[in-house]
């Protein structure tokens, strides 16, 4: 069963491949959509009444924040350390954890689906993908990485089962990723894709690498022992990939 939901300023595509009754699949989709809207209400920086906006205006203390908010803030702090400051929820000035929240919300959505009994699904939250199991045809999920210049072409095709694929790029929303060292927009890389077990981390790593520019290519290589592979395209059209990238044959 397939469903596309407009939420969080983007579109989340849900593809359930389980051999389960339609009513069950429908209710699973309903639960995922409810979760995504809850995340939107809590974390959208475009909503004045969201928890993140109220926290930014200091109307609430950290101690008053929800468990999900505290988790996100803690994760952003950990990632700030882990990426040497290149993943920075405060990069644009006021707190904006969106770079973590999108991947995290899809990772949680997939976990909720699994808990509800879906062993085979693929959820794509605006380009951040979490796959589990196999397609209805019993094959690994084929995930294409969008070409960074030609919107209707793919630069890589991956074959994944239980895996996350996150891409950070400068070709959609322009210069939205900052390099904290230069103080300006990130330069050097046009597209970074990270593939690994956790979508929240993959998303943050991709964003951090994009912020680093070309040195990000070397930094991404260090993630390989932890199970995170990557594919990168530079601003001048050079392509790089890690040896273990799960390319489809």
């Amino acid at each position: 069963m397939h469903h596309a939901e407009h939420v969080m300023g983007t579109v989340v595509s849900i593809d359930l491949a389980d051999d389960l009754p339609a009513a069950t699949l429908q209710s699973m989709i309903g639960d995922v959509c409810a979760w995504l809207h809850e995340v939107d209400r809590r974390f959208s920086t475009y909503r004045d009444d969201s928890e993140v906006s109220r926290f930014r205006r200091r109307e609430i203390d950290l101690a008053d924040c929800s468990p999900d908010m505290r988790h996100v803030l803690e994760a952003c702090a950990d990632l700030w350390r882990e990426t040497d400051g290149y993943f920075d929820a405060y990069a644009a000035g006021p707190l904006d954890p969106s770079g973590y929240v999108k991947g995290w919300s899809v990772e949680i959505a997939s976990a909720r689906l699994a808990q509800a009994g879906s062993a085979h699904h693929c959820v794509n939250g605006g380009g951040d993908i979490r796959a589990r199991g196999l397609t209805a045809e019993g094959k690994p999920w084929r995930v294409g990485i969008r070409h960074p210049w030609e919107a209707d072409k793919l630069s890589w095709v991956l074959a994944v089962t239980d895996c996350a694929v996150a891409t950070s790029g400068s070709y959609e929303r322009g210069e939205h990723v900052f390099n904290p060292r230069s103080g300006g927009p990130a330069r050097g890389l046009r597209s970074v894709t990270v593939v690994g077990p956790d979508l929240a981390l993959a998303d943050a790593y991709a964003t951090a690498a994009l912020a680093m520019g070309e040195p990000g290519i070397g930094w991404l290589a260090k993630l390989v022992p932890d199970g995170y592979e990557s594919a990168v395209v530079t601003d001048d059209g050079r392509a790089f990939s890690s040896p273990g990238l799960p390319a489809a044959v």
Partner: protein
């Protein structure tokens, strides 16, 4: 001769620093096994010149496991304490220091009050590969492809609700609807 000795000691010190053995200042924690002949750390290489160095290799101030003699140190019995290290001639072995990669023991040979040779024993088991980890597998450059292929989903930079409409993902969603 002096230069090569200095080089040898320098190399040894460098190697010792890499594995975390301290040759001077305070005594390192001595493990309960392997009693050392002389605790080099306590024997005053950097010591107060007014302090009289001990003549015997064993029985220094480290205080542990006194006197067991399996260190193999020799005493050539010649000139002794004058100048340099202030140690009597002989071969001195440092404390055997355990670290995650094995046990390292450093030894020096003193002649005429000066260090004339230095050596270290270090682990040679497979674990020592962790001291020199395999090189990080770098990302390899390749040709940027532009293909059209049948896929279940497309990963790209976050599209907005508006740009979604024209995206590959939208085409897939429509085909599956």
């Amino acid at each position: 001769m002096r230069r090569s000795t200095a080089a040898a000691v320098g190399t040894l010190t460098g190697a010792a620093l890499i594995v975390g053995v301290r040759l001077s200042v305070s005594a390192p924690a001595v493990p309960t096994a392997a009693p050392p002949a002389v605790d080099l750390a306590g024997s005053g290489q950097d010591a107060d010149p007014t302090k009289k160095p001990s003549k015997k290799p064993a029985g220094s101030d480290s205080g542990s496991d006194s006197g067991s003699g399996d260190s193999g140190s020799e005493n050539s019995g010649s000139s002794g304490e004058a100048g340099g290290t202030g140690l009597a001639d002989g071969v001195y072995k440092g404390s055997a220091v355990k670290n995650p990669y094995g046990t390292i023991q450093v030894s020096i040979k003193v002649q005429g009050g000066k260090i004339t040779a230095a050596d270290a024993t270090y682990p040679t088991t497979a674990d020592s590969a962790t001291i020199n980890p395999p090189a990080i597998a770098a990302l390899k450059q390749e040709t940027l492809q532009a293909q059209s292929a049948d896929v279940n989903a497309v990963s790209g930079a976050t599209f907005t609700s508006e740009s979604y409409v024209k995206s590959l993902q939208a085409a897939i969603d429509e085909a599956n609807a």
